[in-house]
């Protein structure tokens, strides 16, 4: 009875028979990204995190070569894969570091998705192939210093000047901002909110790194400032009018996070399981103590349930039936679950848990950002509340 050897250890994936829900191609894609993360990210990521510097250009090129950038989009050099495959890639990247997954999410789900869905054919031809190849990096400017959960109040303004546009304002907490070749920027116009494609280096466009972060340190986070930035008439995204457009992109990114955060949690959990079987206290591995086993078992359960929800969400999305509220539910669940798992795993590792020698504290502080960005936990709570009651607690 090969499958039932007494005391056989099971992987997290086996406990929930997750592989049975995935096609062989999806498993293969996950395996390739996992291998890349093992080889290209894990050996160096603690150093990147500590120094606050990421070799984003090199990484973007490698990710482009694999086919990760905009992998869920069709055409223009994109791989055209399904939602679950994209989710699994996000999960494997975030098992390395949330910063690496953020680089890919912002590139594919925000910047490329905006151009793909709302751009002109010329904009798509110009930007999508180099972005898919990782040769060009994109960022997405929606959040402002004073407008986070309430983006509709944004103050960045674009006014007409002859045939051109003049952009003024600022954006905050923009991932990839100061390393980007192109920014998709959302601004108020007399015809409502519009998206603009802004090449880096345009006069009047300044992108500066945000320092002193205690989270997502292996990620470029920036402030963008536009001062009388002049753009030609064709810089607008023709389809990107009104708040629906940027919110569509955010929905895509949220979907990736629903998988991604569980990657960070998996890495924490695997680390804690390994640690608990090798760390000896009172003459036995701490994994043999009931308190530790209870922690591990409960975390595994939450993780597995999160995975089942994420995969189910992915299949729903692949059928083209996904609701925004469903994405909110999974984003809420995955980030909350993962943050709690990271904290508990930190405790299992004891003092070693706070060291960068182990990935756990790094994931833990990264997940603080993931919990908040692409719709805070609180906003998604209100989205679900509104869906359940029909009463909006915010406007």
């Amino acid at each position: 009875m090969e499958g039932t050897v007494a005391g056989a250890r099971r992987s997290l994936e086996e406990l929930f028979a997750l592989d049975q829900l995935l096609s062989s191609e999806e498993l293969e894609i996950a395996a390739v990204v996992r291998r890349w993360v093992e080889e290209a990210v894990k050996p160096s990521v603690a150093e990147w995190f500590e120094s606050g510097e990421l070799p984003a250009r090199e990484l973007a090129l490698e990710l482009g070569k694999l086919g990760v950038m905009g992998m869920h989009l069709d055409g223009y050099g994109c791989a055209g894969l399904g939602a679950v495959a994209y989710g699994l890639a996000c999960l494997e990247l975030e098992a390395g570091d949330s910063g690496i997954r953020s680089l890919v999410s912002v590139q594919g789900s925000l910047a490329m998705k905006a151009i793909h869905a709302f751009g002109s054919e010329e904009q798509r031809q110009q930007w999508l192939p180099p972005m898919a190849a990782g040769e060009a990096i994109g960022c997405f400017g929606l959040t402002e210093p004073d407008f986070g959960s309430n983006p509709a109040g944004l103050r960045t303004v674009a006014r007409r000047s002859g045939g051109d546009w003049i952009l003024n304002g600022s954006k905050m907490w923009i991932t990839n901002g100061h390393i980007a070749d192109v920014a998709v920027v959302w601004a108020r116009t007399e015809d409502g909110i519009k998206g603009f494609v802004v090449p880096a280096g345009t006069k009047g466009f300044v992108a500066s790194p945000i320092h002193h972060k205690l989270s997502l340190r292996a990620s470029a986070t920036s402030e963008l400032v536009f001062e009388d930035l002049r753009l030609p008439a064709d810089a607008t995204l023709p389809g990107g009018i009104g708040m629906r457009a940027p919110l569509t992109c955010l929905g895509e990114a949220r979907f990736g996070i629903a998988f991604g955060a569980l990657g960070a949690a998996r890495d924490c959990l695997r680390t804690a399981i390994d640690y608990s079987t090798t760390r000896i206290q009172f003459d036995r591995p701490i994994g043999g103590f009931q308190l530790t086993q209870k922690k591990l078992a409960e975390m595994a359960l939450e993780w597995g349930k999160g995975m089942l929800l994420a995969i189910h969400l992915g299949r729903t999305k692949e059928r083209g039936q996904v609701l925004a509220e469903q994405v909110s539910a999974a984003k809420m669940n995955s980030t909350q679950t993962s943050l709690e798992i990271a904290r508990e795993c930190r405790a299992i590792l004891g003092a070693n848990g706070i060291s960068l020698e182990y990935p756990v504290a790094r994931h833990m502080v990264n997940l603080e950002s993931v919990y908040t960005y692409e719709g805070t936990y609180e906003m998604h709570t209100l989205v679900l509340g509104r869906a359940l009651t029909g009463l909006a607690a915010f406007t």
């Binding site: 090969e2 694999l66 791989a79 894969l81």
Partner: protein, 252 residues
């Protein structure tokens, strides 16, 4: 020209591993992947094939018509695969494995076999030479570099003092060491394209090989735990004792 690249599909080393207590065999119920050492052989084959305009066919023997590791090699760029799978092969020893693989190679019409020096789960390290002997082809083993010039195959084998340069006429069997090249990542396009590449599934009867196993595993024991080193407080004699110890193990 056709290159046959051997691929062993083994349990994912990242997952917990176990030996079956009755048969002493590795439990192979979980996910199977390409043996990491074979990914070097596949990469060497693909690089050579790209240079020569040749084609790479993957040859594998696996339980349960397993193809997931073979698909990885196809996603990397191999053109097709032969997988030999038969319940009678459970517990096959190295020689039976070599007979199966040699017979499969004959079917491919390959002029060159590229294999890893040994598998990561079995470690017998004998299969490439056995296949060569069965085919009556020269075996060029432990290659760090491999080139083909017309009908001549040439390898460099790393030794303690430098390199052995070895050459033979095709057809031949070459075993390559890990670290000789950097195996490429299968691209997502390669992964999707691998779906439609031909994989021929064969039984022992198809090959005309009899399931004779000459080897029996009598028992399995855990390796002895490594003894802790000697720890002593330096009372001024540490230097002498270290020198005496190094002298004793003959490294001075």
């Amino acid at each position: 020209m056709k290159i046959a690249a051997f691929v062993k599909q083994i349990p994912d080393q990242a997952a917990p591993q176990a030996l079956d207590p009755d048969s002493f065999r590795l439990v192979r119920s979980g996910k199977m992947i390409i043996d990491d050492s074979d990914s070097y052989g596949v990469e060497v084959s693909l690089q050579l094939a790209e240079k020569l305009g040749a084609e790479v066919v993957v040859v594998s023997m696996a339980p349960g018509q397993e193809t997931s590791g073979v698909r990885t090699a196809l996603a990397m760029g191999a053109a097709s695969a032969i997988v030999v799978s038969d319940d009678q092969l459970a517990g096959a020893d190295a020689l039976l494995t070599a007979r199966v693989l040699a017979q499969a190679v004959s079917r491919t019409g390959a002029d060159l076999v590229v294999a890893a020096t040994e598998s990561t789960d079995g470690y017998t390290g004998t299969v490439p030479a056995q296949v060569a002997a069965l085919l009556g082809w020269p075996a060029l083993t432990f290659a760090k570099e491999l080139e083909v010039d017309g009908s001549t195959v040439r390898i460099k084998r790393q030794t303690e003092d430098g390199f052995d340069e070895v050459e033979a006429e095709l057809p031949a069997v070459v075993s390559v060491t890990a670290g000789s090249v950097v195996p490429r990542y299968p691209s997502f396009k390669g992964i999707m394209g691998a779906k439609s590449k031909p994989v021929e599934l064969l039984s022992l009867a198809d090959l005309g090989v009899a399931a004779e196993v000459g080897e029996r595993v009598l028992g399995v024991r855990d390796a002895e735990a490594r003894a802790a080193g000697e720890v002593f407080e330096d009372d001024g004699t540490a230097e002498e004792r270290i020198v005496a110890f190094l002298d004793e193990i003959k490294v001075l």
